[in-house]
């Protein structure tokens, strides 16, 4: 295998690993913030215990989020030196400010976690607010760089040299606003759904006491409300993102939908496999006119197809499946959240039925899969370009002959860290069951 392919595999895997912890870092810190706020307003100790336990879990994840982030951050320069050379000239500012967001998060996280017993209530809320703000800002800032790769602006290439550099135009590129909202909304949604899963899992246990059930139910409701809001926003904003693709990256949209011929009244193909020979999606369901309507806002709008572009610029067509899975997960999760909240409101006094709890347990993993599919879709769908229209992936890559060994070493590292994280989480929460926290004398929980 050549070093370009190995670099792509290594970087893609590293990102897919980092994003698990990074997303939870963004989503769960926001949930901790809400729990602290409710604790303060309602003076209900359960929410204090909740914030504490969520923070414990988050602190464990942070132990992997930070080093895996350090890895991808440095790896970007190691594996994609050609890319970073242009980044350094055109879009270095967001990367640089991101570091300050990390600082902010790291400093206040240390304060919130390690000095909790010496902080007043208000200072605790202030520091956790800074943690949440730092995490969300870092997601926002890295996404600026990412959106710029998709819709590059703010420079020109003349005879291979970069000229006319305008850092602001690069930052304010056309896909920046809409994808940033998408990334943040999906991170909040995923953080909330993961906590929904955990609470639902605990509620499935028949042996727990009334006090424990009440605690888990509060957690479930808080997380469900946030998850529903975030996922509704995700769907509407996802629609605008698709509209952006139509304007800026028609080829990516065509690949996502498996549309070969440019046409008005373009149908939306759900699932199925795009077949290059047949020039059609085989085995899916087609909704006539739907794609035109989604992309342009009117069912007789014209949508460009793959055949408008040279075939050697097409991304791999399996992105169609990734895209469908992401969207499918989005709509299923909205449905589940509406159902569960509706049920809880209508049958106020009764417990949620077992089957519904089982369904709720799946929401966290599903949401995380949505994140993975979405990102892989976005990065693979950009191929063969690293900077769309400007730099091919093959000219961005390192030519070092050692990537193979490194691939092996890093994959082993990730597997080890995943296993360790799982073990540590299990060990900690088995040793410190929630009733211990709930029954601890007032004040001792912190």
């Amino acid at each position: 295998m050549d070093s370009v392919l190995l670099s792509r595999m290594l970087f893609g895997t590293s990102m897919a690993f980092h994003i698990i912890f990074a997303t939870l870092g963004v989503g769960v810190t926001l949930m901790i913030f809400f729990a602290e706020i409710l604790h303060w307003i309602k003076k209900d100790r359960d929410y204090g215990v909740m914030a504490k336990r969520w923070t414990k879990g988050f602190a464990i994840l942070l132990g992997v989020a930070i080093p895996s982030g350090t890895i991808v951050g440095v790896m970007l320069s190691l594996l994609w030196p050609g890319f970073m050379e242009i980044v350094g000239k055109v879009i270095a500012v967001p990367f640089q400010i991101e570091i300050f967001a990390f600082f902010l998060e790291a400093v206040f996280m240390s304060i919130y976690v390690y000095a909790a017993d010496r902080l007043s209530n208000v200072m605790r809320i202030v520091s956790v607010a800074f943690v949440a703000f730092g995490a969300s800002s870092s997601a926002f800032l890295i996404n600026i760089a990412h959106s710029w790769m998709n819709t590059p602006r703010g420079f020109d290439v003349v005879d291979g040299a970069i000229t006319d550099i305008d850092p602001w135009a690069a930052v304010l590129n056309p896909s920046m606003a809409v994808t940033s909202k998408h990334v943040l909304a999906t991170a909040y949604m995923t953080g909330a759904f993961v906590l929904v899963s955990i609470a639902a899992f605990r509620l499935l246990r028949k042996t727990s006491s009334g006090q424990e059930r009440a605690y888990h139910k509060k957690g479930l409701m808080l997380a469900l409300v946030i998850a529903l809001l975030a996922s509704l926003y995700t769907a509407t904003n996802g629609h605008s993102t698709a509209g952006m693709l139509h304007e800026e990256m028609p080829l990516k949209l065509a690949a996502a939908e498996g549309l070969f011929e440019t046409q008005a009244n373009a149908p939306l193909a759900i699932m199925g496999i795009p077949d290059v020979e047949a020039e059609a999606v085989v085995g899916g369901i087609e909704i006539p006119g739907m794609l035109s309507w989604l992309a342009t806002g009117s069912s007789d709008g014209v949508v460009q197809g793959l055949n408008d572009f040279p075939q050697d610029e097409w991304p791999p067509l399996f992105v169609h499946t990734l895209f469908n899975l992401m969207v499918g997960i989005g709509f299923s999760l909205i449905g589940i959240a509406v159902l569960a909240l509706g049920w809880a409101i209508v049958f106020r006094r009764r417990n949620l039925p077992t089957w519904l709890l089982v369904v709720l347990v799946t929401t966290g993993p599903l949401s995380m899969l949505g994140i993975e599919f979405g990102w892989i879709f976005s990065c693979v769908g950009r191929q063969p370009w690293t900077i769309y229209g400007f730099q091919l992936t093959s000219s961005a890559a390192t030519n070092s002959g050692n990537v193979g060994i490194l691939f092996f070493l890093f994959i082993s590292l990730y597997i080890m860290l995943l296993v360790m994280t799982g073990l540590v989480l299990r060990y900690y929460f088995a040793r410190n069951p929630v009733y211990k926290d709930l029954q601890a004398p007032q004040g001792e929980a912190f």
Binding site: K56, G63, I66, G82, S110
Partner: protein, 347 residues
């Protein structure tokens, strides 16, 4: 001063801060391991220092890499081709170390394992990092154009590599012993203070020995650097003076039980290190990688340079207050410093 020199100066500042913070951080890991068998407060103290500080130290590493790519995008190519192996090994070790740092805080069962992991990586990481310096002074690069690589056989048989590593490690241990002795004073533990003071006294002359041999091995390896070094001999002379003051402060009379002013020793040693590393960096100019790459070749676009400066100014304005709070909570607060053991944290 021209713009590329301003940029490399900023990078030197980041490198300097990371070197100090990293030396202390990694060194504390080593000392915690060294004393783990002997049931002293020395272990507990080193661990308590490490717990809240490694995250912040880590961000400095990222800052450094991002600053290099931002100011000198032309250097990215060399990082990605020549330096990919040492950097990747450092990354893997850091990942293992950081993860265990957090895991062992949460699950006490892992504390013993952590002590060894952070002790061993505390030596390996700085050794690998410092090994990058001799690679940058030239003479170890083979191949041409697109296909360049490090001549590892020549590198590994070169005395320059080993004197640099020796210097890196002794500096790390010396600095961390000094800082921990100061930290012990601040926590009111005179007994631990004495332990770390003794280590500092032993390590001081060894560090000096390696510093001088590292310079001597440079003479055949990098005559172009030595020429500049002779021109700025006064910087190195000042650095020696600072070293002498710092070292002697370990015997200055003090109001406490044991003699020595740890704080003064720390400040002067850091100053000495600053002067010497500035002199080293200055002599390295204008090359980033001799003789391939100068700061002028690698420099970013002037527009971008200005925006980066605004960015750093804005970021620092935000961060300095945060750091002040951090410092007061972990380095100054008597309640935290004097807690019986690593416990006493609610979380």
């Amino acid at each position: 001063m021209t713009e590329p020199y301003v940029a490399i100066l900023i990078i030197w500042v980041f490198l300097f801060v990371y070197a100090i913070a990293g030396a202390i951080d990694f060194g504390a890991g080593f000392w915690a391991m060294y004393y783990s068998k002997k049931e002293t407060n020395a272990t507990i103290l080193a661990n308590r220092y490490l717990t809240p500080s490694w995250e912040v130290t880590n961000v400095f590493l990222v800052l450094l890499v991002i600053a290099i790519v931002g100011f000198f995008p032309g250097a990215a190519f060399y990082m990605g081709t020549l330096m990919i192996l040492p950097f990747s090994f450092v990354l893997i070790l850091i990942a293992i170390r950081s993860a265990f740092m957090v895991f062992s805080f949460i699950v006490k069962k892992y504390t013993k394992l952590l002590v060894y992991i952070s002790g061993i990586t505390g030596l390996l990481i700085p050794a690998l990092m410092i090994a990058i310096l001799p690679m940058a002074i030239g003479g170890f690069i083979g191949g041409t154009g697109e296909r360049q690589y490090i001549l590892f056989d020549q590198l590994f048989t070169s005395p320059t590599l080993y004197t640099h590593i020796g210097f890196g490690l002794t500096t790390e241990l010396f600095l961390s012993a000094l800082l921990l002795s100061d930290y012990a004073r601040e926590s009111g533990s005179e007994e631990t203070y004495a332990v770390y003071r003794k280590n500092a006294i032993i390590l001081g002359p060894i560090t000096l020995f390696f510093a001088i041999t590292a310079l001597l091995t440079l003479i055949p390896q990098a005559p172009w650097m030595v020429e500049t070094m002779i021109d700025i001999w006064y910087l190195f002379a000042l650095s020696l003076v600072a070293a002498a003051i710092g070292y002697s402060a370990l015997w200055w009379p003090s109001k406490k039980q044991k003699p020595g002013r740890a704080r003064v020793a720390v400040i002067f040693t850091v100053l000495q290190f600053g002067l010497a590393s500035f002199g080293y960096g200055y002599s390295h100019m204008p090359y980033i990688l001799y003789p391939e790459l100068t700061v002028f070749d690698a420099f970013t676009d002037p527009t971008m340079f200005r925006w980066l400066l605004y960015g750093y100014a804005g970021g620092l304005a935000l961060l300095v207050p945060a750091f002040v709070i951090f410092w007061r909570l972990f380095m100054k607060d008597k309640k935290y410093l004097q807690a019986e053991s690593g416990e006493g944290n609610g979380y």
